[in-house]
């Protein structure tokens, strides 16, 4: 059994930390050691962790803006093509022209919001490469508690500074417990 496991390539080294504070301080040390392919796992988003990990702001906001703009454009076309060309309606004696635009605003607003919301929802999962039901981390038994009250730090083997022995020692030195080498599961 062990020989089969050894034949698999290493995926990452995982270490557990006792609290959000410990994880935060460890993350700052891993960042300063200039690792690139690593992550911290916690039951809730930890305030300030992006900075502690050296991550910038999520680009999702810009993507959602594009989605909102698409929604706005859709509404403009959806309203003005039928109302001006396909089925011109004179309501309250008012034709469709620049001066009668305000009554068209509510639907423009609604579609802007609608497409932005879809972009936000699907954007977060696309950027996170989810759904992914099969991940090497799930093979690590203690990782079950990450959604309950446990905090983990994972350094992946694809990192240029990764070494099976030194990375383990490094994680133990910065306070990690239960440091384990995980193998890729496919």
């Amino acid at each position: 059994m062990s020989s089969v496991a050894l034949a698999k390539p290493a995926f990452a080294v995982i270490a557990e930390f006792s609290s959000a504070t410990a994880l935060f301080e460890a993350a700052e040390k891993v960042r300063d050691a200039r690792f690139r392919f690593w992550d911290v796992h916690s039951p809730f988003p930890i305030h300030g962790m992006n900075k502690a990990m050296g991550l910038g702001k999520s680009p999702l906001g810009y993507i959602i803006f594009c989605g909102g703009f698409l929604g706005f454009t859709t509404a403009v076309l959806l309203e003005f093509i039928p109302s001006s060309f396909l089925f011109p309606l004179i309501v309250h004696g008012k034709p469709v022209n620049f001066f009668t635009v305000p009554p068209f605003f509510p639907i423009m607003f609604e579609l802007t919001v609608l497409i932005s919301a879809f972009t936000a929802f699907f954007g977060v999962f696309i950027l996170n490469r989810l759904p992914r039901l099969h991940h090497p981390l799930f093979d690590h038994e203690p990782f079950n508690r990450v959604t309950n009250d446990a905090f983990f730090l994972v350094i992946e083997s694809v990192d240029p500074k990764f070494s099976e022995i030194e990375t383990r020692e490094f994680l133990e030195k910065i306070g990690g417990t239960g440091v384990t080498l995980l193998y890729a599961n496919d």
Binding site: V40, F44, S83, N148
Partner: protein
């Protein structure tokens, strides 16, 4: 405390921040308590409750089918009261939904951390209320199979909807509101579904939660995008929730009917919606809190804040009632004056005074701290608000319509049994959906509540000796 520089004065000593979860519970306690509700066997009261609510819902559905197969004539609507309970119920339910979005979106932007204990249940309540609301415009058209004409799609007659009609705005506003609320609610559920997945014992349950949680791993690289999405959804839901009830009010405000044709309607409707919605959240959460022993998560501090919001919005509504009356007097329009005098002193005087008492007078009890911390009074006031908000819509719609411009057209409105049971039936649908929700999904956002615990702060260090304020007060 020693003299300190003015810019670094610490107020913690004088006024410690009250903890959001009482009795210093751990994160594991929160998971156990909340997820345990779903994992343990359903208590007996749950079966009794769902048996009653689903029977009521079934009878409501029977009434709906009876209406569809017979025609809208089974309702008490007449001319001039062509809009009666149907629209009253629609606006009532859609208003209820507003509290959920207010809690999840506006309070998130305002960094009101107490929202985390109630936002999941309130958002679920929003969805179910909007479902109940959507029934009425759907069935009131009579020929429901023609409802797709509201959609702006090419049809064989080459007829397109009138995009400048407030009723068309409503179609877009309500459908957008429902969709965005579902997305917002589900995004918040994903980390909690991952908790359910990791705790699940059974193979089937684990697989289902695994798929529903999309394989969420709680990595900060995931939280980073998640938090941005959550923030943006809160940001776009804020104008959305304010616009939905404004759009609903445009259905009336853009007409020329005395009593409807006022510019105060959008803010007045929005305040009323939030008032009614908070009342419904309290109505649902007070029993749920006792039955599931969530006193330390949904604490008296939460109830206290919500009661203050009831007081605030109830008073805004009261201001709007008075201002409407004043403008009718000051506007010198005899039709407008008549409409408002008739509202309070005409044949439906009892409805208007019920509305005024329930929505304006009763919430004033909430000025007293002891009343805000007495569940019987809180429950009573929230029930008053529920009833009062329904009467408000009845007053606005039916009373304004029943005295037409010509006295020869004046008529009274009498609901039929179909009217009554359809409305009661929607309560059955609403409560059945809510009971199913608390049975199968975590009713408190676990990951968010953990995030507001003191030890969730990355700069938190446990106090050496009891420096932290501990709240241990327990109420029956």
């Amino acid at each position: 405390m020693a003299e300190t520089d003015a810019s670094t004065t610490v107020f913690v000593e004088r006024m410690p921040r009250r903890p959001l979860v009482w009795n210093n519970h751990s994160m594991a306690w929160i998971s156990d308590r909340i997820a345990g509700i779903v994992e343990n066997k359903a208590p007996r009261w749950w079966w009794v409750a769902i048996a009653i609510t689903s029977s009521v819902a079934a009878f409501g559905l029977f009434c709906i089918f009876y209406l569809l197969f017979t025609g809208v004539g089974v309702w008490g609507n007449n001319i001039p009261i062509a809009w009666a309970w149907g629209i009253t119920n629609f606006v009532f339910w859609i208003g209820i939904g507003h509290a959920g979005t207010l809690i999840s979106a506006i309070l998130h932007l305002c960094r009101q951390k107490w929202r985390t204990s109630i936002n999941r249940a309130a958002e679920a309540m929003t969805l179910f209320a909007v479902i109940c609301a959507g029934i009425f415009p759907g069935i009131h058209v009579g020929r429901i199979w023609m409802a797709w004409f509201m959609a702006p799609v090419p049809n064989p007659n080459w007829i397109w909807p009138n995009f400048r009609s407030p009723l068309m705005w409503d179609v877009f506003a309500v459908s957008t509101y429902f969709t965005v609320s579902v997305l917002f609610w589900y995004l918040g559920l994903v980390p909690d579904l991952a908790t359910m997945r990791d705790r699940a014992k059974g193979r089937v349950a684990k697989s289902v939660y695994w798929v529903l949680s999309f394989g969420w791993r709680g990595g900060n690289r995931q939280w980073r995008h998640y938090e941005m999405a959550y923030l943006v959804l809160a940001g776009i839901s804020t104008p959305l929730v304010l616009s939905v009830h404004s759009t609903v009010s445009f259905d009336f405000a853009t007409s020329v009917l005395p009593g409807w044709h006022t510019t105060i309607f959008p803010p007045y409707f929005v305040a009323g919606a939030i008032f009614g919605g908070f009342a419904m959240v309290l109505t649902l959460m007070l029993p749920a809190r006792s039955l599931y022993k969530l006193h330390d998560v949904f604490t008296w501090d939460h109830i206290d804040v919500m009661c203050k919001l009831l007081l605030l919005t109830g008073s805004i509504v009261g201001y709007a009632y008075c201002m409407e009356f004043f403008v009718a007097f000051y506007g010198a329009n005899p039709f407008e004056r008549f409409a408002f005098l008739n509202r309070y002193f005409g044949p439906y005087w009892w409805a208007s005074w019920t509305m005024f008492a329930c929505n304006v007078v009763m919430p004033q009890l909430m000025w007293v701290r002891a009343f805000r911390r007495n569940w019987a009074i809180v429950f009573f006031v929230s029930m008053c608000a529920n009833a009062g908000m329904w009467f408000e819509r009845f007053v606005i719609f039916v009373i304004s319509l029943h005295r037409d411009f010509l006295p020869s057209a004046w008529r009274m409105y009498y609901p039929t049994w179909v009217d009554a049971f359809t409305f009661i039936g929607t309560f059955g649908i609403f409560l059945t959906l809510f009971l199913l929700f608390i049975r199968f999904l975590p009713m408190v956002a676990m990951s968010e509540v953990k995030g507001v615990l003191p030890e969730a702060d990355p700069h938190y260090h446990p106090p050496a000796s009891g420096g932290e304020e501990t709240v241990t007060e327990v109420h029956a």
